[in-house]
């Protein structure tokens, strides 16, 4: 390779590099980054990618999904919170990152109540309480009775401080019984443990749980949301037996604090349109996710109430990451 060709190659590449830094007036004029604070393949990731695809069409600019998993979603969320509030970096928040983590991680670097601009409510899903089909528990009551014994019963979760863990803790608190928490790294492995009878019960995502219920491997004893589950309408809400048990997993798109109002509004519209699209609607139905009806103005209040609700549960369970 001759020196001149080298130099030309270098200068062309340099000019390409410069081109990226020219800015324009209206939003959006360059690709938007949507940070997903969980690994690829998780339910949050799936929902985010489907929505990002539709948003790209709507906004005329690519919405690029970036996975930044870690510390229960805190790493990715912190990255977004600390980025510029220009609307080009947004995140898919979850009940974990925006509500639970505040109580679980005492040194959480961000405050979901003040460091975040909510953009739009994406959806929610309750969880199903399942036991092995081979177990002797036919109703929720059977389970609770067994938990009164000295040995107690065990329940699986997707990790310490996750919504599935705290759901079990809430049941334990409300029923005042001996329920032993067994954390697992992933929901799927935990579910397998329930199926094989190694662990007694688990709160799990309705669709994966329902599949196995239909296949005769699991039995669903209750729904965590007071409104029941669309995927499994015959299963009674736990709220019927224990007043005050109303827990759902939800997703909420957000950006860093103090985002300009017009930018936020545009993003909100894009998300709303994405939610109305066929692809997303179909996926929601198949996955048992319900669309939320929380108006934009009430999003901040919603986050606060969730922080408090989960905070109370976490305190009662003394579940802190030390």
């Amino acid at each position: 390779m001759t020196t001149i060709r080298n130099m030309m190659a270098v200068s062309v590449a340099a000019m390409l590099g410069l081109a990226g830094s020219v800015s324009a007036q209206s939003f959006p004029d360059k690709p938007i980054t949507m940070i997903v604070p969980f690994a690829a393949g998780t339910s949050t990731d799936t929902v985010s990618r489907l929505i990002a695809e539709r948003m790209s069409e709507d906004l005329g600019q690519t919405v690029v999904v970036e996975n930044r998993a870690g510390a229960g979603g805190s790493v990715g969320t912190q990255d977004v919170v600390s980025s510029d509030a220009d609307g080009y970096t947004i995140a898919m928040g979850t009940v974990g990152t925006l509500a639970i983590n505040k109580s679980i991680f005492p040194e959480l670097p961000y405050d979901p109540e003040s460091d975040v601009t909510p953009i739009a409510f994406v959806g929610y899903t309750p969880t199903l309480l399942v036991v092995s089909a081979e177990s002797s528990f036919q109703t929720l009551n059977d389970l609770v009775e067994a938990a009164r014994s000295e040995d107690g019963v065990t329940f699986a979760s997707t990790g310490n401080g996750t919504s599935t863990h705290l759901a079990g803790e809430l049941l334990k608190t409300l029923s005042d019984t001996n329920m032993i928490h067994v954390p697992f790294g992933s929901g799927a492995v935990g579910l397998a443990a329930v199926m094989s009878g190694e662990v007694d019960f688990m709160f799990n995502h309705p669709v994966s749980a329902k599949q196995n219920v239909d296949a005769g491997k699991l039995r669903a004893l209750g729904v965590s949301g007071a409104a029941g589950s669309e995927v499994a309408p015959e299963v009674p809400p736990i709220n019927d037996s224990y007043e005050g048990f109303d827990l759902i997993a939800w997703w909420l798109m957000h950006g860093p604090a103090d985002m300009p109002a017009d930018v936020t509004e545009k993003l909100n519209m894009a998300v709303t349109n994405a939610l109305a699209s066929d692809a997303v609607s179909e996926h929601f139905v198949k996955s048992g996710i319900s669309k939320g009806e929380i108006p934009f103005a009430e999003l901040e209040g919603f986050i606060s109430s969730e922080v408090n609700k989960w905070g109370d549960i976490a305190n009662a369970a003394n579940a802190q990451a030390n």
Binding site: G41, T46, L50, A71, M195, Q211, N322
Partner: protein
């Protein structure tokens, strides 16, 4: 028979022009990406995911799966040529593959790699086709106690891997276990040995450890080696005759390949254990079964054939729990699972019954893909071998470049590059002192899983440790591990005792 009609259905699905094209594409990308140090199938599949949106779900999965098992072929290429494992599961291949390449027989090593990989995959696919639901059931019955026992067995096997004293290998294994502890403990949420670094919350990056210990350390060593003075380029035997295994080689290799495949299929079917564990165990088993274990580590062809058959077999078998139970075998499988869900397909017990065309189409495409990979890799061997004939003054910066960017690209964090640096220095020191880095990797991977399963077993057993001996499978494996530790100690123990008696 039902199996044949299913396979016929699979052929129908997989033999369309579209499916074949994307299968080919996936395999090519996978091989390329697997060979590059640092970039792995996980990153690639995540990037390729949005690109598959417009495709038919079966075709999309065929391509993504092709990337996955293609990477196993590619990863061993850089292990053999550069002592730089492209993927963690190919680290063991470097133990004998790299010496083979250094002695001028790189083509031979690559050839065996291709054949063993192909055999491992194909045989495993047949097993999957015939027994998937049954295997899934058995895998389901494996609980934390058995997992713990399997991992203990795997770790004990790792101690026999490194050349040199078993005591030093044991130190390396324990070192790997300790490294695996760094990060947040999922059971309690406590931070262990993170020293305030947020980047360490999820542990030390495996790629950084592997790149540093193997790649960086090796390059520093090579720079001082005599070859840079005597001959700047590595002389390789490029004749076709030297690359092809002769009859004697083949007769020596078919048994290691079979052993590797069986170990790989069994381990791969267990969710959580993966191709890395399988390759380590296959290597250790091969060394134990060999009449002349001293050859291992210096260029024994079985040392390439067995782990390669194992890791490819394990990768194929990992689809069993993923497809039939919806439980991903490892992180990459989890992404594939997510891809399936995104395309509207929910894997699980109903999957095989509800979507037979997709299931059997996928399995047949695996076989086609492996065939493609075989015919892709073999002609490339000549070209690949020339890579290490490139003068080292050009090769070294290129390799370091990919190590740097590869380490960085895992989490887009320069912290990881610094970690690679630290492990590079460490690797240099360790090799100089006679310690081999390979067992560190296995300890690093197995450590956290082993601890998790130990703690979980005890919680469920309400604190009673006899559970490990009560469950038959666990008792057998732990007993085996115990024997493996005790047997080599017999002679020195007897010697010691006789000295004491005098």
């Amino acid at each position: 028979m039902d199996l044949f009609s299913n396979i016929a259905l699979g052929f129908q699905t997989a033999f369309t022009a579209e499916a074949l094209f994307y299968c080919f594409l996936g395999c090519c990308i996978g091989t390329f990406v697997g060979a590059l140090p640092g970039i792995g199938p996980m990153v690639t599949i995540s990037v390729a995911l949005p690109l598959t949106f417009g495709l038919d779900p079966t075709v999309a999965l065929i391509m993504l799966a092709g990337i996955f098992y293609g990477a196993q072929y590619g990863g061993s290429i850089s292990s053999i040529l550069l002592n730089l494992p492209g993927t963690a599961s190919t680290a063991v291949t470097a133990l004998d593959g790299y010496p083979l390449a250094q002695s001028g027989r790189a083509g031979f090593a690559l050839f065996i790699n291709a054949i063993a990989s192909f055999c491992g995959s194909t045989l495993s696919i047949i097993v999957v086709m015939a027994f998937a639901p049954a295997i899934a059931e058995i895998a389901l019955r494996f609980n934390s106690t058995e997992y713990f026992a399997v991992m203990v067995l795997g770790l004990v096997a790792a101690c026999t891997i490194g050349g040199g004293s078993p005591l030093k290998s044991l130190v390396m294994v324990v070192f790997g276990l300790i490294l695996g502890i760094v990060g947040m403990d999922i059971n309690s949420g406590a931070m262990r040995y993170t020293f305030g670094f947020l980047e360490l919350t999820d542990g030390i990056s495996l790629i950084s450890v592997a790149m540093g210990l193997f790649g960086v350390a090796e390059i520093v060593r090579k720079m001082a080696g005599p070859s840079t003075h005597a001959s700047k380029t590595m002389i390789q035997d490029l004749s076709l005759a030297s690359m092809l295994p002769n009859r004697e080689d083949l007769s020596r290799l078919w048994l290691p390949i079979l052993r590797g495949t069986s170990i790989g299929s069994m381990i791969g079917a267990l969710p959580g254990a993966g191709p890395t564990v399988a390759s380590f165990m296959a290597y250790a088993a091969e060394k134990k079964a060999s009449r002349d274990p001293g050859r291992f580590g210096k260029g024994a062809p079985e040392g390439v054939a067995a782990p390669e058959a194992a890791n490819n077999a394990a990768v194929q078998a990992a689809f069993i729990p993923t497809l039939s139970l919806g439980i991903p075998g490892d992180v990459v499988m989890a992404i594939l699972l997510g891809a399936m869900i995104m395309h509207g397909v929910i894997p699980g017990p109903q999957f095989i019954a509800n979507e037979p065309a997709m299931f059997w189409g996928l399995l047949v495409s695996f076989w086609i893909g492996n065939l493609i990979l075989l015919f892709l890799n073999l002609p490339l061997i000549g070209l690949l071998v020339r890579i290490i004939t490139v003068p080292s003054r050009i090769l070294h910066p290129v390799v370091i470049f990919f190590i740097c960017l590869g380490s960085y690209s895992v989490s887009n964090n320069i912290f990881d590059v610094f970690v690679t640096l630290v492990f590079g220095v460490l690797g240099y020191v360790l090799v100089r002192r006679g310690f081999h880095p390979a067992p560190v990797l296995l300890g690093f991977i197995l450590g956290p899983m082993m601890e998790e399963n130990l703690r979980r077993s005890l919680v469920i057993a309400r604190g009673d440790p006899s559970v490990f001996l009560e469950r038959p499978a666990s008792a057998v494996m732990l007993g085996l591990a115990f024997l493996l530790i005790v047997m080599p100690l017999r002679k020195p123990a007897l010697r010691f005792l006789s000295r004491v008696r005098r």
